[in-house]
Subunit: 344 residues, 3 copies
């Protein structure tokens, strides 16, 4: 079950370049390319005639010609030519998905195009803001249902175990109860730890001594994490806004279902310090990739167990608070879409 | 859904030699071998006792012994020996499929043996006629449903796109509407093009200049193409029968379902010119294999899209005329078989 | 369909050593490890919280901590710690399977722990008895349903065909009708052959001449074979108990379903002769492995045919007597379990 009326991250901008990109999203194969005006086009990658992939077709200007029987489609998906035939049936059209390119991500709307309001796209401007230095474009392919990734991102207590040697640094991280605020389409989650030994991935970047640490993030439908995190000298007043000497990140992460059991995961973690230092670049990029592979390992193993059986009861714990509240929002939106579909 | 009461091509003759050949047809594993009299035998490759494959068994004269518990079957599939047991149950029999060997192909009847009339086998005598020079025995395994192969062969407009650089040579090929005649068990399809640049695959074999070109073929249940095609100097009267200087082919092709999503494809393309010229042999063989791989690529990609989803409406175009009419014949025959099965 | 209230062989003792062992049994992934007291623990390898595998967790004394969110479980499967949470829900428990370690095998009870009576474990003491010399721990993984393995072991007529060149030696073996006695939870099967050329696997171990040969075994629910077999000079009175000069084996074999279509197969074949002779060791071990691969080949091929189709009628033969009687016992026990489950 997928939410459709929402913006998903479909790709990094550079992935849609001169050539065709084909990617499956919510189970649908989609063809991405750019017009001569550099606009991104997203068409169903199946000809409306006999379902051949348009991605095996040929670019003709801003159009694509299916190279099976030659039907030609424009960037809106309308068929504009059928070889040997003068009239074109009105139904001869492939679905054109609304897309928006913003801050290096290509966003796609999988539902009713009429409802595709770009104002619903969360702000991720840090990814290409000049004063923030991003990590290289991050992508992982998951052999797991997208909900398992969301569960992971909604409960950072796992930093204490999955990422003990990387992002977490101490099991005491799991003792902290986050503050959770319910938003219209997601949650605002906040964790502050005071007087805390810095975790391995940033220890080299900080002066010796204890730190105050924070992870403040929104987790938004359909699976977008936007986080302010950072480290400051213990007691220096970071929470009250005094951030001199602090190091800060603005992580932007996006989970997009590929199929029911596989997912796309896009990420970037801009920082506001040592912006021109390649050693810091490499150190943080490696730390992030190591940590995100730790997630991949446990989540894909978890998926294997779900595939064996998913009907046994699960025991809720306190740490699941955000997960439960997010699922409630998700289920409400999903039920709304299904009602709308049933009435249509 | 498969048609059963019809002849399918099961193998090239040389594939059934000294050893057992096992091949799946309509989802059924079948054991092929030759008797001492060189007759081809086709038995269900599953012992009637505990379903062990007879192909792991042992030849004993014209019989096969299952090497699990030793039951022995004759070439008609009757059990003739059960170790340690004097009487043989009447039901102790594996299905023996009617087979006919003709012009290098082994034909098999998958339905009611009582109905297996060899007169229903189409004429493919060109494949081993002395005055025609065949290509080497052609075979491709398809990861695609057989109907997608039939669709391909029923509409040659794809020559203009799939085979633009090989068999087609020009997109104008797709402008031509074929003549279609409905036969009892298939279609007769005819395409004549006049004053046309010869396509790449034969350009080297012809004197310079424009040609008239034809593709006249029957496409017969359950998926047999028999074609007269050729090229003659433009305006030389080939259609009226003046064929001096023309080069002609008699392509014989057969589609056989392996399973619902995989298929066998057998082909030969005899010609009536340069019959003893190895350079022409190689040139035509390579051209054919290149072109047939072009089909394979698009059809297997099409199958992938069908596997993702096959419930969305497809838009019919003019070029689908033969496909639609053939499907009507197919569906009528299939419905007839199902009625007969229901009554039995 | 699996029987649950019975003891299955889960592992050889040495497989559960310092590290975790994960093995799937009846479709369930199970984590095995040893406590500091060397007792074997078998826990469901899925955390009761979010189904992450405990096998990716961390040993803490005799406990295991799930390294996703840190829940800690003791050797009885009870959760003893939830990070950041004082009270532990009563349901916070993973299933602990009763296990018994006996004669080098780890036995596991997959059903209601209340019913797990170790007295139901068959006697396999020969496997580690000092006066018997076992083969190295045998294990084969099967791509086949466990019933196909049981069928194989219930009817030794296949020695005449599958093992003609190894264990069988002659097709006349299949002429012999075994004596079959019905036990409470299995069958007692006896085959005696007199004045018989010894089969290849033991020919080198015997003086020249004919032998009397026996295979007397119990085949017990859920798939345990315990056999006395041997060879004595023809007419020397082995059946009456005169065993001087005879060579004897006590084969212990166990079939355990991994999933519906895959199985575990454990085996050992202790002997009472040449107990300290490494050449005999090697000869017998190789003979056994060769022969058991012969079974593997035919049974996995049989499974392929069952997977193609399993609704066609099978012809019963005289040799199926044990198979039919065993299946009757199995089905009775299975029906009993299902009644009990339905009432619960």
């Amino acid at each position: 079950m997928f939410l459709r009326n929402c913006w998903y991250v479909a790709a990094w901008d550079h992935e849609v370049a001169g050539d065709f990109l084909t990617r499956r999203i919510l189970g649908e194969s989609i063809l991405f390319y750019r017009t001569s005006g550099r606009n991104v086009v997203a068409l169903a990658d199946r000809c409306c005639h006999r379902r051949a992939p348009l991605s095996l077709g040929r670019r003709e200007g801003d159009c694509v010609r299916c190279m099976y029987h030659g039907m030609k489609f424009d960037a809106q998906g309308f068929c504009v030519e059928i070889p040997g035939q003068d009239t074109i049936p009105r139904k001869a059209r492939v679905h054109a998905y609304p897309v928006v390119e913003r801050h290096r991500w290509i966003w796609i709307w999988m539902g009713d195009p009429e409802l595709a309001d770009p104002a619903l796209i969360p702000d991720t401007h840090w990814v290409d803001a000049p004063e923030w230095k991003g990590t290289p474009p991050g992508y992982l392919h998951y052999q797991a249902n997208y909900q398992l990734l969301s569960d992971n991102l909604l409960d950072f207590s796992h930093l204490a175990y999955v990422h003990l040697g990387t992002l977490g640094g101490s099991e005491s991280y799991a003792q902290l109860k986050p503050e959770i605020e319910v938003l219209e389409r997601g949650l605002r989650i906040s964790r502050w730890l005071y007087d805390f030994a810095p975790p391995p991935f940033v220890a080299k970047l900080l002066p010796p001594g204890k730190v105050d640490r924070w992870n403040d993030y929104d987790y938004l439908i359909p699976g977008i994490l936007i986080m302010s995190s950072g480290f400051a000298a213990a007691g220096s007043g970071a929470r009250e806004g005094r951030r001199e000497g602090a190091i800060e990140f603005r992580s932007c992460q996006a989970v997009t279902p590929e199929t029911e059991t596989t997912s796309h995961y896009f990420f970037s973690q801009p920082r506001n310090f040592a912006n021109h230092d390649p050693i810091t670049d490499r150190l943080l990029d490696q730390a992030l990739r190591t940590a995100f592979h730790e997630d991949l390992t446990i989540i894909e193993a978890q998926q294997e167990r779900w595939s064996e059986r998913d009907d046994d009861e699960m025991v809720l714990i306190t740490a699941d608070a955000a997960l439960v509240q997010y699922r409630r929002i998700f289920d409400r939106l999903l039920a709304g879409e299904q009602r709308a579909t049933a009435q249509a």
